[in-house]
Amino acid sequence: MSAARRSPLARRRVRTAWLFLAPMLFVLAVVAGWPFLRTVYYSFTDASLADLNARQWVGFDNYLSVLRLPSGRVLYDGLLVDRVWWRAVWNTVRFAAISVACETALGMIVALALNAEFPGRGIVRAAILIPWAIPTIVSAKMWQWMLNDQFGIINVVLLNLGLIHEKIAWTASTDTAMVAVLIVDIWKSTPFMALLILAALQMLPREILEVAKLDGASPWQVFRWVTLPLIRPAVMVAVIFRALDALRIFDLIYVLTPNNVQTKSMSIFARENLFEFDKFAYGSAASTLLFLIIGLLTIAYIRLGRLSFEGGR
């Protein structure tokens, strides 16, 4: 870095780099930065979608407002004390934790299987990607139909196999609604995990694995002490991608179980307040908090995982 201050060539290179970056930064500022700042701003107003221009600054009232009654009682209001919101936060975090954990484990198994040499490997590799390639709305609709309690194929199969005795109302029952959402998400996203882990596996130098085998390590020992540490950085990055995705979960739940308290996610909560209820400002506050929560969780994950984005590992 200090070299840049001295050498004219390095300075020019830095300038060129900024020049190349400028269009992207500009586009990002326009399509992401500006709307984000607007949302933060709206969260400090009483804006309503019926007439956005009639808004007034209300400070932190959407987050927390304190009302002192003449009787001396103190009432708290706002997002920070909204039980529905915190329920949505809990739903989302729980969903993200379970789905990403399952996807990582399954993705690892699939990747290890695909890493082995067997005839037809190319076709299997392509086929396993299909769930990831289908747009979420389409796969959600497809699963909604398969999970239908009366006509759905899943209930028919389970009934015929004798695994269940009566048809399960997957998306309706409070016990299974979240399970249904998880099943579809895991089905959809495992290929993504498998692909990233497979890429890491293919980069492994063969010599190390062969040396480990020569030393008499069992397959499990090779995996636990050689393969896993070597692909760990790639897995950690893949997990971050998936976790960011899972924390924003919207489309799948919106199609399968939009208004169930048991599955309502942060994004669903924000959308509901923004557009369905006359609470645009409150929904903006929820969006802002959603951003902060995802940001904090990501930072915590990077710190705890001692993840380095500097490259070279």
Binding site: N259, E276, D278
Partner: protein, 436 residues
């Protein structure tokens, strides 16, 4: 959602189009008298159920021929709750992509400021519509939407099954519960394993508000929010009504009913797997269509009464509104008037058994012959109960959402009816604040 069964079952016979002859004649003469205008492209958004979209397209084809303009349908999901969110978004963005919105009867107060005032343009035709419907679409003296059909739910029942077991058409919820159980148990014992007693709209959305308002109000539990703005929902009669429904889930109603909207309920019903169904009149024409397994085997009755002694039907209905941001408001108003005209309402009613909003059509012989539900439903719709959208005004959606959440929690077994209604009353009170 769940439009699939409708597509399989939803074919319908062609009614005669004789009544169109005068219209065609008028259209030909108008072509001769007026020079053809430059073709304008309009778009109309609708999320109708059953064969509603198909019939709308047929009506629009007639309009295109008559006017020379082109009209596209933007089709969106049939959940009213989803539709409202999307409309809100378009209107808030000042989008000129949509000229005409098909709006639910409850939305007028919430969307009024972004819709064109139709009062002047429709002065010549509003007199033919029921004044109460026109009134429901009038906000601060502005008529913001013109009705195209109205809705009042019916209790659909299987004539053949009731006759088989000598059961009468139920007039109270208790009788419905008993009859449903009786028929279902006997049929299941006879091998009809997929049969259920009763299906309705139990998903957490606006349709559950309609269903639950009927349960609560017919039980003497009040109308959630009264016309004077008072919140009345926390009372023992309302709780008793919800407790009764909770007892239906898994016994006479499939557990999945907690995720059913109109089309899912009709899917179970029209494949012959339900003894009773609560649904809007559109299911009548579809149930009697050519390929329907239950064609001619069912009839309709008013919804049952509760301890309150009289039945309650929630008023529904759909209207057309012109966006303030439309680039062609005059043509859009013209289109709205065309679709809402007596000729087109008759056409729609013959095809879909939707209830017309024009009083004279209830005496029409063609309609009486082909869709006998329509003249029979006039008194029911005239006595139908509006949802408290007029009292809750712009906060109605949130109030309704809190109501359906409390109901959905109760009937799916999360908390007792009494607790959930007490919490609901507290939430509504907070939502109301200083006033609705």
């Amino acid at each position: 959602m769940g439009g699939r069964p409708s597509r399989r079952l939803g074919s319908e016979s062609d009614p005669p189009v004789k009544f169109l002859a005068p219209a065609v004649f008028a259209f030909v003469t108008s072509l001769l008298l007026t020079p053809p205008a430059r073709a304008i492209e309009l778009s109309i958004v609708s999320g109708d159920t059953g064969n509603g979209i198909k019939v709308l397209r047929e009506i629009l084809d007639r309009y295109e021929k008559k006017s020379g303009n082109k009209v596209d349908i933007v089709v969106i999901p049939p959940s009213t709750t989803d539709q409202f969110g999307q409309y809100r978004l378009w209107l808030a963005a000042g989008s000129s992509d949509i000229d005409v919105y098909q709006t639910d009867v409850i939305w007028a107060p919430q969307l009024a400021s972004q819709l064109v005032d139709l009062t002047e343009a429709t002065r010549d035709v509003v007199g033919a519509h029921f004044p109460s419907i026109i009134q429901s679409q009038t906000v601060n003296g502005r008529l913001v939407a013109l009705p195209i059909f109205t809705d009042a739910p019916a209790l659909y029942y299987r004539k053949d099954l009731l006759d088989k077991y000598g059961a009468k058409v139920p007039t109270t919820w208790q009788q419905l519960q008993d009859t449903a159980k009786l028929v279902m148990d006997k049929e299941r014992a006879a091998g009809n394993k997929d049969l259920w007693g009763y299906v309705f709209q139990g998903n957490a959305y606006e349709g559950l508000t309609c269903n639950a308002l009927e349960w609560v109000m017919s039980n003497g539990g009040g109308g959630i929010i009264e016309p004077d703005g008072r919140i009345s929902v926390d009372n023992p009669k309302a709780a008793a009504a919800l407790d009764r429904v909770k007892g239906w889930i898994g016994t006479i109603a499939p557990p999945g009913v907690l995720a059913y909207q109109e089309e899912e309920a009709r899917g179970v019903w029209q494949t012959g797997n339900a003894v009773f169904m609560r649904n809007w009149p559109y299911a009548y024409a579809l149930g009697n269509s050519e390929n329907s397994p239950i064609k001619g085997k069912f009839d309709v009755a008013p919804l049952p009464a509760g301890d309150g002694g009289h039945p309650v039907a929630t008023l529904g209905g759909w209207n057309l509104a012109v966006s303030k941001y439309s680039r062609h408001p005059d043509e859009a108003i013209d289109l709205v008037k065309f679709i809402a005209s007596p000729e087109m309402q008759k056409y729609r009613t013959l095809k879909t058994s939707n209830l017309p909003t024009i009083a004279a059509l209830y005496d029409d012989p063609d309609i009486a012959r082909q869709q006998p539900i329509v003249p029979r439903w006039k008194p029911i719709f005239l006595n139908a109960q509006p949802r408290p959208s007029a009292s809750a005004r712009i906060k109605y959606n949130e109030a309704s959402s809190q109501f359906w959440t409390a109901v959905h929690n109760t009937i799916s077994g999360n908390g007792t009816a009494a607790d959930n209604l007490a919490e609901l009353e507290a939430r509504l009170t907070r939502l109301k604040g200083k006033g609705w």
